[in-house]
């Protein structure tokens, strides 16, 4: 049993910059991101496709395709160790052991030509000094914990023999098999249907408590954030635009982008003809606008926003926003 202080810093990212050097130019996928994750907490990383949330997670795992991807600046402090400075050999000891990952598509994230048992045992054998037989026993144990019925039979199944929800459970069993302190979940429920989504989220919440681990949940689904996260960082165009606890975010979204996202959620308690959308599209990462990167879509942008980008500033305790005019947003909220 690890003895950790409730508020111990598990992961601290400081000014992370991950760029992709492509033929068309430098793509600043992650451009100065700061994040803090305490042990036992769930941090939500929210944003549209291409905002840099997955690149952030791949930077932590140091699994960026390189070239073209490269961490050019910043620190990724995991229990005080800077992951950005570790060798691949040192990283391999952490991956799957201290930090694990699950992915969006349970259909494609398990290897189709090996049994579930083989794939879970592989991780156990890599990080623990146990026999094959013991690894198999532990794999069955893991499958039981993630709620797969008759695990001693299922362990010899191939991924295609399981349903989507069962596959994601198997994937979670694999990720948690070595008792990691940090689980990075990249859109873990996006590919599942809604009832299964709820089950998987509940399972992750339960396991988080029983394992006392932290979760970094990457999603574009604010509903998922509301159900699971303690703190939330909203990303846009490679930067964090709003960073606060979940309550603060939903109670008082203070960046026009976050507000736009929330307005885009269909609501049953209001009678509106047409769903609200955010105007325009995500800017091309090779050609970001000058000034605030949201200025092409923002309803309250003015000349200042076209020229200069705001810093991430604390507007109330524990609530940071990257916007010049967060106060002006309040008036807009009243109109809507």
């Amino acid at each position: 049993m690890r003895i950790l202080d409730e508020r111990e810093k598990l992961l601290e990212i400081r000014n992370l910059k991950t760029y992709f050097y492509t033929e068309e130019g430098v793509l600043k996928a992650v451009d100065g991101v700061d994040l803090l994750l305490h042990s036992g907490e769930t941090l939500g990383l929210v944003g549209e496709s291409g905002c840099g949330k997955s690149v952030t997670s791949m930077s932590i795992m140091r699994l960026l395709p390189s070239p073209p991807g490269k961490i050019v600046d910043g620190k990724i402090l995991f229990k005080g160790r800077d992951l950005a400075q570790l060798s691949q050999k040192e990283m391999r000891k952490l991956r799957g052991n201290d930090i694990s990952m699950i992915f969006q598509e349970p259909m494609t994230s398990l290897n189709p030509v090996f049994t579930i048992g083989n794939q879970i045992s592989e991780a156990i054998l890599l990080h623990k000094d146990v026999t094959k037989r013991e690894a198999r026993r532990q794999s069955i144990e893991m499958l039981k914990k993630v709620g797969i019925p008759s695990p001693e039979k299922r362990i010899d199944d191939y991924p295609h023999q399981l349903s989507g929800g069962m596959r994601q459970r198997a994937m979670i069993a694999l990720a948690l098999s070595c008792d990691p302190q940090l689980l990075i979940a990249d859109e873990p429920t996006t590919a599942l249907d809604v009832t299964i989504q709820a089950q998987i989220l509940e399972l992750m919440n339960d396991l988080k408590k029983s394992y006392n681990m932290s979760i970094m949940l990457i999603t574009h689904d604010l509903g998922v954030v509301a159900e699971t996260c303690d703190t939330v960082a909203v990303m846009y165009a490679g930067k964090i635009v709003e960073y606060t606890d979940a309550k603060g975010l939903f109670g008082n979204p203070s960046h026009p982008y976050t507000w736009g996202l929330m307005n885009s959620i269909p609501r049953l308690d209001q009678n509106i003809e047409k769903l609200h959308t955010i105007a325009g599209v995500v800017p091309n990462p090779l050609d970001f606008p000058e000034g605030c990167k949201y200025n092409t879509r923002c309803p309250i942008a003015d000349d200042k926003c076209l020229q200069q980008e705001a810093e991430l500033q604390e507007i109330r305790k524990g609530h940071k926003v990257r916007c010049w005019h967060y106060e002006r947003l309040e008036q807009l909220k009243k109109v809507h």
Binding site: G96, F103, N111, Q119, E122, Y158, M171, L174
Partner: protein, 314 residues
């Protein structure tokens, strides 16, 4: 599985009938007359006509085809005009040499092609990758007989390491057998190695981008195991398919290379049969080559489930 195999084997019959039909009429459509070849330019037209009648060549083509097919179905491929012995016997006699050569050439192709393709994909856009691709392009473009001549010039005539040609059966000593095999096997296998390398690389590049490869890496697995375990088994089927095709082609006769190396295999027998218009021998050989090709491909198909659990033959 057994039912599937049997039905697939039944399915081979129409293919083979088609092969027999096409080869029969193609041969008879080519100008030239075996009787005239046998008797030489001095022969009188009567003697030629008599010989043609003896060989049954004066019959209409349809009758000749019917006769040939009905005896072929009973396992009798007829007698060779020139060798004066049964075609089947002559072919069986040549098979071991061709089989040795095909296996050796396939070994060359697989041992070079598969690792080259894998490493090239794992180090995409590196110097190694570039070199493999250029050499593979060369391998596909260079005719094997030219490569054979070049190898003879360098390694036999120049360095004297290997004989210029010929064949020693495996029963007369393995080392000698291999010594005679090396050059023809390399000249034959090189092109197949190139094809296999390109195919392996392309499949590998596709698989290496899959999510489950990232999963394997995220477990903390080393890049070597990620490639040789997780990726390799996923490309096994595509590699197996090209290897099977290569083996079929190689068994089917390295017609020209066998001639270059004076190698007594089926291919050389076919060349001789064609120049002499030895109809029964050509037909028999083509039928055998086609049968081997389709059987090898059937075996490859039947091996698929071993590599991919999603494939099941009911």
């Amino acid at each position: 599985m057994l039912r599937y195999t049997l039905s697939r084997m039944l399915g081979l019959i129409p293919t083979l009938i088609l092969v027999a039909l096409i080869s029969f009429f193609l041969i008879h459509l080519t100008p030239g007359d075996p009787a005239a070849v046998m008797l030489g330019v001095e022969a009188t037209p009567e003697r030629v006509a008599n010989l043609r009648a003896d060989m049954g060549l004066d019959q209409p083509l349809t009758v000749q085809f019917k006769d040939w097919v009905s005896s072929a179905l009973q396992g009798d491929l007829g007698n060779s005009f020139f060798l004066g012995r049964p075609v089947a016997e002559a072919l069986v006699e040549r098979l071991p040499a061709t089989f040795s050569l095909a296996v050796a050439a396939l070994l060359v192709a697989v041992i070079i092609g598969v690792p080259a393709g894998i490493i090239a994909a794992a180090r995409q856009n590196s110097v190694f990758d570039g070199s493999v691709m250029v050499i593979a392009l060369l391998g596909i473009s260079v005719p094997s007989f030219w490569l054979g001549l070049l190898l003879i010039l360098i390694f036999s005539v120049g360095l004297g390491w290997f004989p210029t040609g010929g064949y020693v059966p495996i029963s007369e000593g393995f080392v000698q057998h291999v010594k005679y095999l090396v050059l023809p096997a390399v000249s034959l296998g090189f092109m197949q190695a190139a094809l296999i390398a390109r195919m392996t690389r392309a499949s590998m590049l596709e698989v290496i981008r899959k999510d489950y490869i990232t999963t394997a890496r995220s477990k903390g697995q080393s890049e070597f195991v990620v490639v040789t375990k997780h990726a390799l088994k996923n490309i096994a089927i595509s590699v197996l398919t090209v290897v099977g095709m290569a083996f079929g082609i190689l068994l089917g006769g390295a017609v020209i290379v066998e001639t270059v190396f004076a190698y007594p295999g089926v291919g050389r027998l076919v060349v001789q049969a064609v120049t002499r218009r030895d109809y029964p021998l050509i037909q028999g050989a083509l039928l055998m080559i086609a049968s081997i090709y389709v059987i090898v491909n059937l075996v490859v198909d039947l091996l698929y489930p071993l590599f991919d659990p999603r494939i099941k033959y009911e």
